[in-house]
Symmetry: C2
Subunit: 566 residues, 2 copies
């Protein structure tokens, strides 16, 4: 037998540490079996219900109410426990106010003018106001709080960008600035790997792996999970990439995110391609069809991203090869790729490999509708054609047998001033044309010599194929084509010749100074983050923050109204 | 100056080789500048237009009409060329009929009763009928033709399955049976890698890579691109997997496809997990978050699939490790995974890694809506929970700081008879709980010892973290948990303990005999495929096929009507 008593207090603010400690304090009292102390949101009431701690009174609570439930052996014990609530709350408060602490951000800045960083972990509905104030005071913001609206995020980040400041977050769990972890962060060796991450434990897992593998971290910049959305457009990520590219301690950059918006991903990679350092990219949930494209290295999971970060700094053997038969003999004059493929799967994999690094890209066999080529007979932007598609094969031999359509199209693309590179596949073997090079090589020679368009050929076949692969390759190369036997090499050429990089800066660059001087920070919210900063040897000041009007919603509305009228 | 003349012939059938040769013949005549010979489909008329070969007459043609256009120096040359059409067509016909060839499939079977295979490459609208006849004659079908309806494909494959026969295709470009390439196929060494592919040039590229790497191919089975759709449900793929699993020559199986339906993918992998051999899986365009799960190896591109095929046969070093602290100390009694994670990204990557290998799988942070857990407070099937989601953190500390919710949930899952394995993440470092093991270990011990549920912990941290990672790991292990420092190892355990394999057979198994005896085949359609078979030393007979009623649609309809009335 047990009894359950509850109490609901409306309109008062308690931070989550206070709630946790009150709950633990109650649970330890004599005769108490279990206790629940939560703000009365719908989700929390469901959790109480699930824990067998619901009462009639608690069921009526609203989101702003503090709900206290005690399950005890008998009524006396329950009543006694609830009678202790105030003294338990008081004990907690006096423990916190041990030293002199400012009561406002403004006061904290006066107390520690060198602090360039403000850590904010107050409840979401107050967080944007605190962040706004920090930016006004010309401080970088680490915004741990969640439940900040998207609109507020966009507004804060625009303001920050204009001022050359960073807003990491909202909902940013982690960062490492000049060796000091902010929020949740693993202690790791200093080193030459810099991270920008729209993913908290993703950043932690990668930094921990890099450390375990013997590497180290220069800076790790969190952005919050929504930074790569269409609304935010990667503002913080772009600032971070610029910063790491300029940072002399950083040799390799790692960019990690849960699935970004397709547009933002393309934009980011275009910027990343323009950086002077190798960039390891892990876009979770996106297929990795090529491992490397120019300075970009694509990872397929967190551990792999850490592995790549440690090898990406070393130039690939293929990068060291002297320019020769492998380098295109002419320089492109147009900007766009035109791939005229006979193999549907090869065209598909080419599109998979290039869709994030060449933009805009279209195909008659697209991966998503926005990539669909309006008229398959006319190329547009970067175009990847599957000439084995039904449209091209009605009453006609497959292009692996009959080169006629491809030859016409080759000439058409060569005539297009927008064409910068033409890629073909040539698939040898049984059933295929007995000598494709004999028909394609003369046209390729014409395209390369007369129109000055580089041509690459992906040659699929074996030394046992009836066409003699060596001879086919030689003939195509003599005509001026670059011949590849692996798709990833063709991708590499396309990227090297055609990838256009976007400038990284979209506002005044964030100064490197706060990343190289000893960290000093102001903490508003969870005291444990302050303790962690001090424990790491950083200078820090904790603000004795209380919400305006003690968190009373009605009073807050009234204050806001008065302020607006001033 | 040039002139353009055209001629339209209605209602007659010509195969695509004839059309190509007529076009070439015309283009070589004196005074002819260009020629176009096509069936008058909308797509082909557009192509004529694009090539500058359109005439008023040709613009009026319909899909069943043969359109002949000649561009010449003058009217005389054009007229003369068109006057040659009939003799050019005749020349072609007499060249083809060199030897005695049967005029029907039935006749071919009588001529070569040992032929177990029928290759069909007639136009799509006739192809299903020919395939149906081949199945009735108890022959395997290689169906190169495209433009066969989905409904016909389903019907043909159901019929074939009941008879223990394969229908590779429609739109199947390639296969290798007992060393002989069907359709388009590269010549490769015999070896121990067997393929099942819903992708033509994908299969070719992988077999060619395997050959170039020194390996060889046992059998390569094409299925047609739609086999893994919801409609067809992978009938041919499943037959192929069963066949390769039973085939004594095959040591490693490669399964490759353009993106399959999610349901079919899950079904297939469940079957693949039950096979006795390693299976390399390349589902194009799907993210690869783990490289290995049980006997499955996931590839990220075609070349990688070939690489994996050659190493997948060798047991991994971790597979050789003796069971010890790494093996779970209790055997699961329930069937389902319950992952209670504090790190959103870690939960996300776990779901990415498991979504295709454990089914059904749900989450409060799903990758797609069909995975959404209806009520986050109650697990269902395999469940991956992100306890850092908003629902769980309103007015509450993050689960990386406060273990209370996780502990309650741990007990809840332990009480659920459906629970087979519980996975937790424990993230160490700054900001996180100072000693998570002290709170979690006692509950884990209770779950492992009293409820006999295995518990795995993904431990993220470094040797410099304030919590002392060694001690944390030791404490968790003493409590009975298996501790992993990499997510892929946790995935591996979940798969080993919980993955349920489905039986592979869905009809009488396809006999291995036709795959081990010298290939003999009947060819209906493109003569070049017959020539290729003979060139490879296979026995073959070519059918002098003509469509019913000479391809005249009205006559065909009349014949069908008469037949139905019989």
């Amino acid at each position: 037998m047990s009894v359950r008593h509850s109490e609901v207090r409306s309109g008062a603010y308690y931070d989550s540490v206070v709630l946790m400690q009150l709950q633990r304090g109650l649970a330890e009292l004599p005769g108490v079996l279990d206790a629940g102390v939560v703000m009365g949101t719908a989700a929390n009431r469901e959790l109480l219900e699930e824990s067998g701690l619901m009462t009639e009174e608690a069921a009526q609570a609203s989101a702003d109410d503090l709900v206290i439930v005690v399950q005890a052996q008998d009524d006396d014990a329950a009543r006694a426990a609830l009678g202790q609530v105030d003294s338990l709350l008081k004990r907690r408060r006096s423990a916190a106010a041990q030293s002199f602490q400012p009561r406002s951000l403004d006061g904290a800045v006066k107390q520690m003018p060198d602090a360039r960083w403000v850590l904010i972990s107050v409840p979401g509905r107050y967080a944007a106001d605190v962040a706004r104030e920090a930016l006004t005071l010309q401080r970088h913001v680490f915004l741990y709080s969640d439940n900040v609206s998207l609109q507020e995020e966009v507004e804060l980040k625009h303001t920050a960008r204009e001022k050359g400041l960073l807003v990491m977050g909202p909902d940013c769990g982690t960062a490492i600035v000049n060796g000091v972890g902010l929020g949740f962060a693993n202690r790791v060796r200093r080193g030459d790997v810099g991270l920008v991450a729209a993913s908290g434990t993703g950043l932690q897992a990668i930094t921990a792996h890099v450390h375990q593998l013997g590497g180290g971290i220069s800076q790790a910049i969190g952005t919050g999970g929504r930074d790569l959305s269409d609304d935010v457009q990667g503002i913080t990520t772009l600032q971070g990439l610029s910063l790491l590219d300029r940072d002399p301690e950083t040799e390799v950059i790692v960019l990690v995110s849960k699935p970004p918006s397709a547009d933002v991903a393309a934009r980011l990679l275009s910027v990343a391609q323009g950086l002077s350092k190798p960039v390891v990219v892990y876009f979770m949930g996106q297929p990795v069809a090529v491992r490397q494209a120019g300075n970009l290295h694509f990872a397929f999971n967190l551990a792999d991203a850490a592995d790549l970060a440690l090898v990406a700094g070393f130039p690939d053997i293929t990068d060291l090869a002297p320019p020769g038969s492998d380098a295109p003999q002419v320089q492109p004059q147009g900007a766009y790729l035109r791939a005229l493929f006979s193999g549907g799967t090869l065209a598909y994999e080419l599109l998979l490999g290039l869709q994030n690094v060449l933009s805009p890209i279209y195909s008659n066999a697209p991966l998503r509708e926005s990539q669909r080529l309006e008229n398959a007979l006319r190329s547009h932007g970067h175009t990847i054609l599957d000439l084995g598609e039904d449209q091209f094969t009605q009453g006609r031999l497959h292009p692996m047998m009959d080169n006629e359509l491809r030859i016409r199209r080759l000439r058409q693309e060569a005539d297009d001033p927008e064409t910068g590179l033409i890629l073909l596949d040539v698939v040898l073997g049984e059933g295929a044309h007995p000598d494709p090079a004999s028909e394609l090589a003369p046209v390729i020679a014409e395209v390369v010599e007369q129109r000055q368009k580089p041509v690459g050929v992906l040659l699929v076949g074996t030394d046992e194929d009836p066409q003699d692969i060596e001879q086919q390759a030689a003939r195509l190369e003599e005509a001026g084509a670059t011949v590849y036997q692996e798709l990833s090499l063709a991708v590499e050429e396309a990227v090297n010749l055609l990838a256009s990089s976007s400038p990284v800066e979209t506002g005044p660059p964030v100064s490197l100074e706060p990343f190289s001087e000893p960290l000093a920070a102001i903490n508003v919210g969870l005291e444990s983050f302050y303790n962690s900063l001090r424990g790491q040897g950083a200078e820090a000041v904790h603000v004795q923050w209380r919400p305006p009007a003690g968190g009373n919603e009605k009073m807050m509305a009234l204050l806001a109204k008065l302020k607006a009228q001033q």
